[in-house]
Symmetry: C2
Amino acid sequence: MIAQGGLWIVGLGPGPVHWMTPEAVEALARASDIVGYGPYLDRLSLRADQRRHASDNRDEIDRARHALRLAVEGRQVAIVSGGDPGIFAMAAALFEALEAGEPAWRDLAIEVAPGISAMQAAAARLGAPLGHDFCAISLSDNLKPWDIVARRLSAAADGDFVIALYNPASKARPTRVFDAFALLRERKGAATPVAFARAVGRPDEAIVVTNLGEADPGLADMSTLVIIGSSQTRFVSRGQGRPWLLTPRSYGAAR
Amino acid sequence: MIAQGGLWIVGLGPGPVHWMTPEAVEALARASDIVGYGPYLDRLSLRADQRRHASDNRDEIDRARHALRLAVEGRQVAIVSGGDPGIFAMAAALFEALEAGEPAWRDLAIEVAPGISAMQAAAARLGAPLGHDFCAISLSDNLKPWDIVARRLSAAADGDFVIALYNPASKARPTRVFDAFALLRERKGAATPVAFARAVGRPDEAIVVTNLGEADPGLADMSTLVIIGSSQTRFVSRGQGRPWLLTPRSYGAAR
């Protein structure tokens, strides 16, 4: 009988160690094997007895299969993810691989360690833009047709949700974020607050606060989280620096 | 001139210390005054030199004003929130109070320390239900009219989003979750996966996985986070125990 391994799907958060949970730190310390996208593994200080399995950022399913195979061989495996593995990250790829894979994988002890996701880091810097009902939408059309993305953007506008856009642009898809802004400009007011929050928590953090009429979608890259307000989202000025963004808890009330 | 205090809006996460970030722990350690809902303060081990300001769970704006006044007096204040303060929690109340309050409050150094929110803890236990585009909606109609809630639920169904329902029920509003399920049952298939995740991470954690046709909305209380799948969300069986929930990254693809 094969020794029973375990598998942790670990959220590293947006970058800084002060946003990594103790659970994630413990899961990494317990692992014999750590699997992940190379730059995420580079953030970690692994021990000499821990095996490092780096991959590029494309083959998420291959990476997940590799982690599952190691666990079935009896290894204690941590597969790491930026942000929260449950939000546009490794947890979905892992369970897709499990679903399509060896029956024995379904007997594994699998745990997910959640993490701070990019929209939460961005919101923390901005004030309270996600203070009420919101949607999170990935603009990537690698794995879904663009008409689904467009349908969801339209529905999010119809519902007057705050919108958090993940994966707004990449070298392979530089124009989708322009399409998204064009669609939203037809449905939402030009004064709607917008924020581009890039690499929050990392040395190259950059935040731009603007509005839908004036926003330049070209500011968004793969490291950017875009937030577009609801009809209720507003700016709150402060003594110095850019204004806060606030989506209040109430709807349609006088200020 | 008044000594300049500071204000941290601190997310404690869903409950266990292994889900509290080091940043949150540091902000609490630095505080001279800790403000919050009594049961949240009861989770913390405060030092003898730290002042505790407990309140009930209703007067969030009063609590926020109290924190802002202490900070303007030169105190180092932490105002605590369950989950992530940015998601249906204290950050919005704090900036609402700031917006309507004393001009001097706008000069304060204010920082938000994000935390793991209830939907992330629930998702971690369930597999990957939030693996693709999703909405977060509060069913509370204390501060917004029910027709806004209904409009958002309808839009979320139109967009085929996964839906995370916060504040699904309370003693004052026991029936709104039934109304929400009735609305969603008209728009989504009976086989749509549904999860009731109660008090995740706390001793009374309880999780029920079912589908929209069979779900009993009466399972939801104030401590429950409800997740309702998209058309793509599916169950993935495991060797023992309840199935995982998976919302894959792809849309409409063959399994």
